[in-house]
């Protein structure tokens, strides 16, 4: 963690945080939002489908959307890492940051469970969904709501990097 805090005080990070350039902090913050919208958004709709919404959409072809979820995840993770380094001292000490990390880990584990236990089933669209599949869909929704809420609260607890107020 000291290593991350040392990175925060490098020249690149000082420029990133304080230059006011639109390709610095604002661009990375936007990418973080875009990644989140893709990951949580597509996951949420697939979860809603598992819970019975729009049941005429076959489930198996929805795995085509998984690469987009992962692309969104990596955009979010990379941009999030940069945002974390830029404000490491503050964020690493904020409990709500760790709450967000826990929700994201839970959501990722949940996504893998859905992939292995639900979407890997060759009879996915011919047999009724198991209650385990519905449970995983519900917990996934809860984890993304939790991660989003915790992420938003980070901007209101303690000073915020990139804003000179």
């Amino acid at each position: 963690m000291d290593f991350i805090i040392r990175l925060q005080h490098t020249a690149v990070m000082d420029w990133f945080r304080e230059s006011g350039s639109l390709v610095g902090y604002p661009a990375v913050l936007f990418l973080h939002t875009l990644g989140l919208a893709a990951v949580a958004g597509i996951s949420a709709i697939i979860n809603l489908r598992l819970l019975g919404v729009a049941s005429r959409i076959p489930l198996a072809p929805l795995t085509r959307f998984f690469p987009i979820i992962w692309a969104g995840f990596w955009v979010s993770a990379l941009s999030g890492t940069i945002l974390l380094i830029a404000d490491a001292e503050q964020k690493l000490r904020t409990p709500v940051f760790w709450v967000k990390m826990i929700f994201i880990v839970l959501a990722l584990v949940n996504m893998q469970l859905l992939r292995r236990r639900v979407f890997a089933d060759p009879q996915l669209d011919t047999q009724p969904l198991s209650s385990q599949a519905r449970l995983l869909a519900a917990t996934s929704l809860i984890f993304w709501v939790g991660a989003t809420t915790a992420g938003r609260l980070m901007a209101y607890i303690g000073p915020v990097a990139g804003l000179s107020s």
């Binding site: 919208a37 958004g41 709501v145």
Partner: protein, 312 residues
């Protein structure tokens, strides 16, 4: 060069006259038992609801511009604002139910009397509110239209005024962050639906007909509704952060186009008729690409409010 108060003087006619035209069309279509005309009238409600947004926002900006003029009565402006806020909420509800009626028509291939009844009732309330609001707006610059000693009636419940919403948002530290969390959940609900539905159109999944994906659209509408309400709370709380903010101007402009694009998916026959294992026609694909681009643009300029503009 047109300024914002001028824009308001043009747009302010849309909610009043637009609602009247749409109600007239709707009633006429029911009399003639013409389903096609009924659907057109519901679409007009959706478009009027969309255009109510810039009418309302340009009004907030005009109010700020007028505050600097000593000859204008601030209390009259405040009353006009409260009337506009309440009738805009009714308009938003009318548009939402009209859209749901159109969406439901696709599901069952006939119009539901329930939705139509609700739209008629809501739209009459909206029209009443808009007409009262328009009168109060006229009094700002034309006190001569007031009968001597009379003031225009206000139907405003005290909790639903611009000032009470402003106090709710600014006096409680938990409200702003809660609105933020809701706004982002609304954002991903909306954008997730937009991605899945429009990527179907672009051929990522073609095994199911478009009609199966059409069922998802109320979740986009829910996300949009959450974000319109949370967004309006912020505008009412701190109008100075948005009304001179170039990012906000772009965000709202792109939002209107994106909203019209969303209406295309339900209103037009072309997307609906795309069957299983069928590719979408070129125009639908252009609309799909523009939907994704427009919503990304809305998010971009939302994120840029503090950076390109002056918010926070």
């Amino acid at each position: 060069m047109m300024n914002v108060p001028h824009l308001h003087l043009i747009l302010n006619h849309v909610p009043t006259i637009g609602t009247a035209v749409a109600v007239g069309l709707l009633l006429l279509s029911l009399l003639r038992r013409n389903t096609e005309l009924t659907r057109v009238s519901l679409e007009v409600f959706c478009v009027v609801a969309l255009l109510t947004l810039p009418a309302y926002l340009s009004g907030v900006a005009s109010g700020m511009a007028l505050q600097q003029m000593p000859e204008v009565n601030a209390a009259v402006i405040a009353r006009h604002h409260d009337g506009a806020l309440q009738s805009s909420l009714f308009m938003l509800l009318t548009g939402a139910v009209a859209w749901l009626g159109l969406w439901h028509f696709r599901r069952v291939a006939r119009l539901s009397n329930l939705y139509i009844t609700i739209v008629v009732v809501l739209s009459l309330l909206t029209f009443g509110g808009m007409a009262t609001t328009a009168t109060m707006g006229g009094e700002i610059r034309h006190p001569e239209i007031l009968a001597e000693g009379a003031t225009a009636p206000t139907a405003a419940p005290a909790w639903l005024t611009a000032v009470s919403i402003q106090r709710l948002v600014l006096d409680n530290t938990w409200v702003w962050p809660s609105l933020e969390a809701l706004h982002f959940i609304g954002l991903w609900l909306l954008f997730g639906t937009i991605l899945i539905v429009n990527l179907r159109m672009l051929g990522l999944v073609t095994i199911a007909p478009f009609s199966a994906f059409h069922r998802l659209l109320p979740w986009a509408a829910l996300g949009l509704g959450i974000n319109l309400v949370t967004g309006m709370c912020w505008v009412i709380a701190t109008p100075e952060q948005y009304m001179t903010n170039v990012s906000f101007f772009w965000k709202m402009g792109l939002l209107l186009l994106a909203g019209a694009n969303l209406l295309y998916l339900t209103g037009f026959e072309q997307p609906w008729s795309i069957g299983a294992n069928e590719k979408a026609p070129a125009f639908s694909k252009v609309m799909a690409v523009s939907a994704i681009a427009l919503w990304i643009g809305v998010m971009y300029f939302g994120r840029m409010l503090p950076f390109i503009g002056n918010a926070f």
